[in-house]
């Protein structure tokens, strides 16, 4: 099934693939970083005492989680110009990825914070620690360990999701495959190379996630 697989064309288009890989990297790193900020803010709103903030965060999180990313991307891509906002496709894409991952990260962070047993918080209170001290010394050190592995899982999802930006013609890895297909009509060379490069990223992140799963989650000791 691979006879006639043309390695020379892959070599010829290597600079293009590397550029795509670089763009995928950049998009993913910028989006995950911004999504982390959005996620922590949304999680703060979700756990807040004010009903209004809580309501807004819940609407944001649930509406993102129950609609497809592609619809969200199109929403911004076709929607922002009608509001008179014209930004490059790549920024539209990063905006959509940021808001999408932010909602999932908010849930991950919330699960981390609520995983700290109530007894710990009560113990902190009765030791006379105030809210910020409790956060700083008791909740966060335990919550972060639980949060890191699923966050890396979300990073994997984000890298894969960034492939959808090819549909609004952002020049990332999948788009390179489409370019090679349309210029030379060699879909198998194009998409197997793209898939291979994605797999390389996946295995690196997966290794990191497994490692953090082993190292960072505190095992209760009796």
């Amino acid at each position: 099934m691979l006879e006639g697989f043309n390695f020379r064309i892959i070599w010829e288009y290597m600079p293009l693939f590397l550029e795509g890989l670089r763009n995928t990297f950049l998009i993913s790193i910028i989006s995950i970083f911004l999504a982390l900020i959005v996620g922590v803010i949304a999680c703060g709103g979700r756990l807040s005492r004010w009903k209004f903030l809580r309501g807004i965060s819940i609407i944001y999180i649930e509406s993102i989680r129950s609609t497809p990313l592609l619809v969200q991307i199109y929403f911004f891509y076709f929607g922002l110009p009608t509001l008179g906002i014209r930004i490059p496709e790549i920024q539209t894409g990063i905006l959509a990825l940021m808001l999408n991952s932010g909602a999932y990260i908010a849930e991950i962070v919330r699960a981390g914070i609520t995983s700290v047993p109530n007894g710990q918080i009560e113990a902190g209170m009765s030791s006379g620690l105030n809210y910020f001290q409790r956060m700083r010394f008791i909740i966060l050190p335990q919550a972060i360990g639980v949060t890191v592995p699923p966050l890396l899982g979300q990073a994997i999802v984000l890298v894969k999701d960034s492939a959808l930006l090819s549909l609004i013609s952002v020049m990332e890895l999948t788009r390179c495959g489409q370019v090679l297909t349309s210029e030379r009509f060699m879909p198998s060379e194009a998409f197997f190379t793209v898939a291979f490069l994605y797999l390389c990223i996946y295995f690196c992140l997966k290794y990191l996630a497994d490692w953090s799963q082993k190292r960072l989650i505190f095992k209760e000791t009796y």
Binding site: S66, L70, T174
Partner: protein, 222 residues
């Protein structure tokens, strides 16, 4: 102006319902086949037979490590080169089935692994054959851990079905895309698309959360 667009949007609303119907059919077929194959593969994977474990492991990593868009392009453009002719609809169902199989396989294998070893030993010493052990003892208990993430996976599959719009299946997202060309009001059109997805996904998300709460109650922790 906006009221005018809104009027036209209402006029073509049946078109959206048709798209919703297509989304429902494609994702339903995908998740039914995915569940069947996923269960078979998951059971095989949990048995730790070398012959199956290796290929299934590679299959699952490859599917989980590459973006769904790339998988769809491979199914749609490259399978025909190997002599498998597919129209857009069957390519979409096939791609969703492959995706669902890989993810459900992991869920099922994890659920079966979570059943205590004593149950295997007890059922084996009661003289049940391996098929009966699985059917009568192991799988009913494993379902408790399998069901909530399985329903969650269905939500993901329904959302991922939006991506099949790229190969020209006229489902909900594609309808939105076709509409926005004629009614240049991206926010409105894709809000409508989003709401329709929300109507299917949100109840399923609630169901998944409800199942998780309900099924974890009976779990006896030693």
């Amino acid at each position: 102006m906006i009221a005018d667009y809104f009027q036209r949007l209402i006029e073509i609303f049946p078109f959206f319902l048709k798209g919703l119907w297509m989304t429902a059919i494609v994702s339903c077929l995908g998740l039914i086949f995915g569940t069947i194959f996923g269960f078979i593969m998951g059971v095989l994977r949990s048995q730790k037979v070398r012959l199956f474990n290796w290929p299934i492991g590679i299959f699952v990593s490859v599917i989980r490590g590459t973006p769904f868009v790339v998988q769809i392009f491979i199914v749609f453009f490259i399978f025909p080169e190997w002599g498998i002719q597919l129209n857009a609809f069957s390519a979409a169902v096939l791609a969703l089935t492959i995706l669902g199989t890989a993810f459900i396989c992991e869920i099922v294998a994890g659920g079966i692994k979570a059943v205590p070893k004593g149950q295997w030993e007890a059922s084996a010493s009661s003289g049940l054959s391996i098929v009966k052990q699985l059917r009568l003892v192991i799988i009913p208990q494993a379902l408790r851990t399998i069901l909530p993430p399985l329903v969650g996976q269905y939500v993901l599959l329904i959302k991922d079905s939006s991506v099949v719009s790229v190969i020209g299946v006229v489902e909900l997202t594609r309808v939105g895309w076709l509409t926005v060309v004629r009614i240049p009001e991206g926010l409105m059109v894709f809000s409508l698309v989003g709401i329709l997805y929300f109507v299917i996904s949100y109840p399923l998300i609630r169901l998944s959360n409800g199942l998780e709460k309900k099924l974890s109650v009976g779990q006896i922790s030693l």
